[in-house]
């Protein structure tokens, strides 16, 4: 690893000033589980590593039924699955965070780092997309809010400009009968990169089991994580029966643009998108029916 300067701002203000001053010469350090590998490999050579974990806004998790969830970009995955509100109201996002690497990795890795690293296979991103998460970004030119489904531009590239920092995610409060789920396919039980990942969030009217809201996010089947807009829209107003689920799965496959690689062929990946879309929808629906969130 090349020699680095280490800086640890204690406030958002300080962090913005430091990052603005350094521009392209700096990288934020969250859990470091991607960044340290890139520094060692020499694929990133920042002069300044700016540790963002001492900034209170970045590590907090705050939830209320009125305002929904504020999830700090630098809250480690372990603090997500140890949080009872997260497990209850956002079980899909929680299970995605609990899939990253090993427990050792989850003690450090963060959802913000997972997104900012820009991998199309990042496990928490489809779960965030399904929940309609908004990313609060701050930088030299001020603040902006970016929907997570538009955050990634290409493998390893996001909307973040030099000097910009992802502060937190805002996720809407759950509806009464709403829930989410995330599933991924890997050839082993743990510790592998998703061949396909699918996140789904549903809100139901349980009086007639109709879908009020639906969002489906896909991972590892395109240059960026994908919001399956048509598949999601197709479910709204429908009873969640086998035909509706099958139709959504077909539409999800249609927006996937996977490649052949050592983890699987494009054809296999399309097939798995269908399988996992069906399964995540069924799982999210089962949770939503049981849920009584308010």
């Amino acid at each position: 690893m090349h020699a680095i300067n280490y800086e640890a701002p204690k406030s958002l203000d300080e962090a913005v000033k430091l990052l603005a001053a350094h521009g392209e010469k700096a990288r934020p350090l969250s859990g470091g589980t991607d960044l340290l590998i890139q520094l060692r490999a020499g694929t990133r050579r920042p002069e300044f590593v700016v540790d963002i974990k001492q900034i209170p806004e970045l590590t907090r998790i705050s939830f209320s039924l009125q305002h929904g969830l504020r999830l700090g970009a630098a809250a480690p995955c372990i603090s997500i699955h140890e949080n009872s509100d997260m497990r209850k109201y956002y079980p899909g996002l929680t299970e995605a965070a609990h899939l990253i690497g090993s427990l050792q990795i989850q003690s450090r890795a963060t959802v913000g780092g997972n997104l900012c690293n820009g991998s199309p296979a990042a496990d928490t991103t489809p779960a965030l997309i399904a929940l309609g998460a908004q990313a609060r970004v701050i930088g030299p030119k001020g603040e902006r809010t970016v929907p997570v489904d538009g955050f990634c531009l290409a493998p390893g590239r996001t909307v973040l400009q030099p000097g910009e920092l992802l502060v937190e995610f805002h996720i809407p409060a759950p509806e009464r009968h709403s829930s989410d789920a995330y599933l991924r396919f890997i050839p082993r039980n743990e510790m592998d990169i998703a061949v396909v990942g699918v996140g789904a969030a549903l809100s139901l009217d349980v009086s007639d089991d109709r879908v009020v809201e639906a969002r489906i996010g896909l991972g590892a089947v395109g240059p960026t994580p994908i919001f399956a807009a048509e598949a999601s829209k197709s479910l709204i107003g429908k009873t969640l029966d086998a035909a509706a689920i099958e139709n959504a799965a077909r539409l999800a496959i249609a927006v996937a643009t996977p490649i052949d690689d050592m983890r699987g062929t494009a054809e296999f990946r399309r097939h798995v998108v269908g399988v996992l879309t069906r399964r995540t929808l069924a799982k999210a629906a089962e949770r939503a029916r049981e849920a009584n969130q308010r």
């Binding site: 680095i4 204690k10 690497g101 510790m191």
Partner: protein, 231 residues
């Protein structure tokens, strides 16, 4: 869920007992006599290669006080809490926690294998949670309580898991053993009554070249039972 050692003074006790500065300052056991005499038990205890280094008396400086600091790129001097003692380290910011443990402090229980978070051989506890020490900067470990295999138990005062690893023959070459033991001890703190599936999940990030997994799982179950029996 508890991520703190059950006995809050456990680390201090071990550190006090094994503070080499307290007696002749030399290593208590030579590597050779250790291997000859105690065999597997010695390897499990993970004390091989521990070098004397005095623990500082001074309380650690609150690393988080004041405005944004800049350290590096040259060596910086900072304090870490390791196995209940405060240690002063001078290292460049690019040095990992594993690098400081092994190369600066002589705590060679945590092993360097993959250097990319994928094998678990370098597992230590950070505030009771398992972390791969190759995947974090040492400077980023300030303000946290670090426990290494050297702080978990000692040959005459073995952690229940270390006893169980010996009893169940849960190691061959022993290279993965300190990491396995640290991952499992964190898991048992959080869940004293784990199922075999939960044990497998706890060591999903620990790779054993020798394939000792079945015995490791048996050892973890036995240790959990022993610990519950004592409680």
């Amino acid at each position: 869920m508890s991520r703190r050692p059950r006995d809050p003074h456990h680390n201090e006790k071990i550190a006090a007992e094994f503070d080499p500065a307290a007696d002749d300052g030399g290593p208590k056991l030579s590597r050779r006599s250790f291997l000859k005499g105690a065999g597997a038990a010695a390897a499990v205890a993970g004390l091989l290669g521990v070098q004397p280094a005095a623990a500082d008396d001074a309380a650690p400086e609150p690393p988080l006080a004041g405005a944004a600091e800049r350290l590096g790129p040259g060596p910086a001097t900072f304090k870490l809490r390791i196995n209940g003692a405060t240690r002063t380290v001078t290292a460049e910011p690019r040095v990992t926690l594993l690098g400081v443990l092994r190369d600066h402090l002589g705590l060679t229980g945590a092993k360097l294998v993959c250097d990319r978070g994928a094998c678990g051989a370098c597992t230590v506890h950070l505030d009771g949670a398992p972390v791969t020490s190759c995947m974090m900067l040492a400077i980023d470990a300030r303000g946290h309580e670090i426990t290494t295999i050297e702080g978990l138990g000692a040959p005459d005062r073995m952690h229940a898991l270390q006893d169980a690893f010996v009893a169940k023959d849960a190691l061959q070459c022993g290279f993965c053993t300190p990491g396995m033991t640290m991952a499992l001890s964190a898991a048992l703190e959080a869940n004293p009554n784990p199922s075999p599936a939960e044990i497998k999940h706890a060591i999903a990030g620990n790779i054993c070249r020798c394939g000792t997994y079945p015995h490791v799982i048996e050892a973890a179950l036995a240790a959990a039972q022993a610990a519950r029996g004592q409680a």
